[in-house]
């Protein structure tokens, strides 16, 4: 083998700041063309179809009934989500309990609610009166202090909130547990060693770090919940979907009204995305992503 000493490579005699990127593979151009054509086709159907009457969409988009339905959907989502988060935190803490019965109970709850369809729960709570006609507070073998008809107590809206909230708690329990477990045990030790109480350790050290992990999946859960709340329409609860159903059952403008509902769902989920993004930024302090 000969070892030749070459002169050091001279810089190319061009203006090195002028450059273009390597040409894209032909496949990307093809993909872009297919996507473009598909969108054009869908667009022409949507715009020209006689069944998708855009004037009907505009007519109902801001109508009182639709807005009332939207408000009900947002309300349902917020309340059920709040119940889900509170329930999820309780279940997660139970799950991490050193007492076996307690952690087993939390585990079983999650197993049950994740293993059965949400729609079934909604129908169950709506039809609770068929199982328990009246709800009473009584002293065993003694007098009845208080009794109400189940259908009076469990209104369709309350049934919906219970079904969605209980179900959500099971999912949130897993989210919260993941967040708590993601915090290095060394953090708890350091906090304890500094003389912080259990509460202070949780509040100041564990929860802020767990939140960072918990917020993205919780945002996804809120968005899922918003859409899942449409299932409640089966119990004639006047949320967004049911509100448009009522309208199109009268005027048979099914598609435009479904467009109205979908547009509102999209708008709300988009707002939620923005909120989620800002929360994530806020809680990623010190991780280099903030």
């Amino acid at each position: 083998m000969t070892t030749e000493t070459r002169p050091p490579a001279a810089p190319p005699r061009v203006d090195t700041s002028r450059r273009t990127r390597a040409p894209l593979h032909l496949g990307w151009w093809l993909a872009a063309a297919v996507i473009g054509l598909t969108l054009l086709n869908i667009g022409s159907v949507v715009v020209r179809s006689p069944n998708l009457d855009w004037s009907v969409v505009w007519e109902y988009f801001l109508s009182t009934d639709v807005l009332a339905g939207l408000a009900r959907t947002v309300e349902l989502t917020a309340i059920a989500m709040a119940c889900g988060i509170v329930g999820g935190v309780i279940l997660a803490v139970m799950r991490l309990s050193p007492v076996p019965v307690v952690s087993w109970a939390a585990k079983s709850y999650v197993w049950f609610f994740r293993g059965t369809p949400l729609l079934v729960h909604i129908l169950f709570w709506y039809n609770l009166a068929a199982l328990v006609p009246a709800i009473a507070v009584e002293i065993p073998f003694g007098p009845t202090l208080f009794e109400v008809d189940t259908n009076d107590l469990i209104t369709p809206l309350l049934a919906a909130v219970i079904a969605l909230g209980l179900n959500e708690a099971a999912y949130m329990a897993e989210v919260v547990r993941g967040g708590l477990l993601s915090v290095d045990p060394g953090q708890t030790e350091a906090a304890k060693a500094l003389g912080m109480t259990h509460r202070q350790t949780l509040r100041r050290v564990v929860v802020p770090q767990a939140l960072r992990v918990v917020i993205p999946p919780t945002g996804n859960q809120v968005i899922s919940m918003l859409k899942a709340s449409a299932l409640v329409s089966v119990t004639s609860t006047p949320e967004l979907l049911y509100s448009v159903q009522v309208i199109y059952n009268n005027n048979f403008k099914t598609i435009p009204l479904l467009v109205v509902a979908s547009a509102w769902y999209l708008i709300v989920t988009s707002v939620l995305y923005v909120v989620q993004h800002h929360l994530e930024r806020r809680f990623s302090r010190g991780t280099g992503r903030g």
């Binding site: 290095d184 060394g186 953090q187 030790e189 350091a190 906090a191 304890k192 060693a193 500094l194 003389g195 912080m196 109480t197 259990h198 509460r199 202070q200 100041r204 050290v205 802020p208 770090q209 960072r212 302090r285 010190g286 991780t287 280099g288």
Partner: protein, 254 residues
């Protein structure tokens, strides 16, 4: 050397059927620096963690000055203290960990003022002034507003020391404070510890840094299988160990 600050009597600790500490007696005097040495698994970390009751004991007792740590006597038996009391007692010890364990969501300054503010309820101005002083003494005043992940390991460990000092502990406990550091960063942390020792801080240090132990420690204590097998003035024990197991350990570490 002053009077006894820390007293361990017949400390026992098991995990399941594995006896990790088998009757440890240890007295540490005011201003004394004690180095704990011993092979991996000999129980050094566990011993350190029983001192501030991060681990409960199975038998025996720990006293800080004359206060029983972690328990109170009641009806001829020991009852573990509640969360609040334990927290109050732990605040009197400082602890520095192998993995630093700084709070990643707080800046350097926030890490240092956290316990003074929350645990001792100092005023923010007082806590801040003192924190800046402490950071200056470990050479990191200019990094007060940085987040821990932007610091080198050596800098993080120095912040951790400042954080522990902010509570004015009676005893500082170190668990292999330099074992997770790149070799070139070990020196800066050991320098801070030397400085503390010279300033009269009472310290119990688990370490494999034999040179540090010989130069700085007043006493070296060898642990093996959960018992103290040899102890004495650091220079003596490290230069002329009497026990075969101590000699073996020292030839391995060097």
């Amino acid at each position: 050397m002053g009077e006894t600050v820390l007293r361990l009597r017949d400390v026992h600790k098991s995990y399941g059927r594995h006896e990790v500490l088998r009757g440890i007696d240890l007295d540490v005097a005011e201003g004394e620096v004690v180095c704990l040495l011993g092979p991996s698994g000999s129980g050094k970390s566990t011993l350190l963690r029983t001192i501030n009751h991060l681990e409960p004991l199975d038998r025996g007792a720990v006293f800080l000055r004359d206060e029983l740590i972690g328990y109170r006597e009641s009806g001829g038996r020991l009852v573990e203290l509640g969360d609040r009391e334990l927290a109050r007692q732990r605040a009197r010890f400082g602890m520095v960990f192998q993995g630093f364990n700084l709070f990643p969501h707080m800046t350097v300054l926030e890490n240092v003022v956290e316990a003074p503010l929350r645990v001792r309820r100092e005023s923010p101005a007082v806590a801040r002034t003192r924190a800046v002083d402490l950071l200056t003494s470990v050479g990191l005043a200019d990094r007060a507003d940085a987040y821990p992940r932007h610091l080198s390991g050596g800098q993080q460990q120095r912040v951790a020391i400042a954080r522990a000092l902010a509570m004015s502990p009676a005893v500082l406990l170190f668990d292999e404070p330099t074992s997770a550091l790149d070799p070139e960063l070990v020196g800066e942390v050991l320098d801070v510890m030397r400085h503390l020792a010279a300033g009269g801080m009472t310290m119990v240090v688990v370490t494999h840094e034999i040179t540090f132990a010989r130069d700085v420690a007043d006493r070296a204590v060898f642990l093996d299988h959960g018992t103290i097998i040899e102890q004495g003035p650091a220079a003596d024990v490290l230069e002329r160990p009497r026990e075969r197991r101590t000699r073996e350990f020292l030839t391995h570490v060097r």
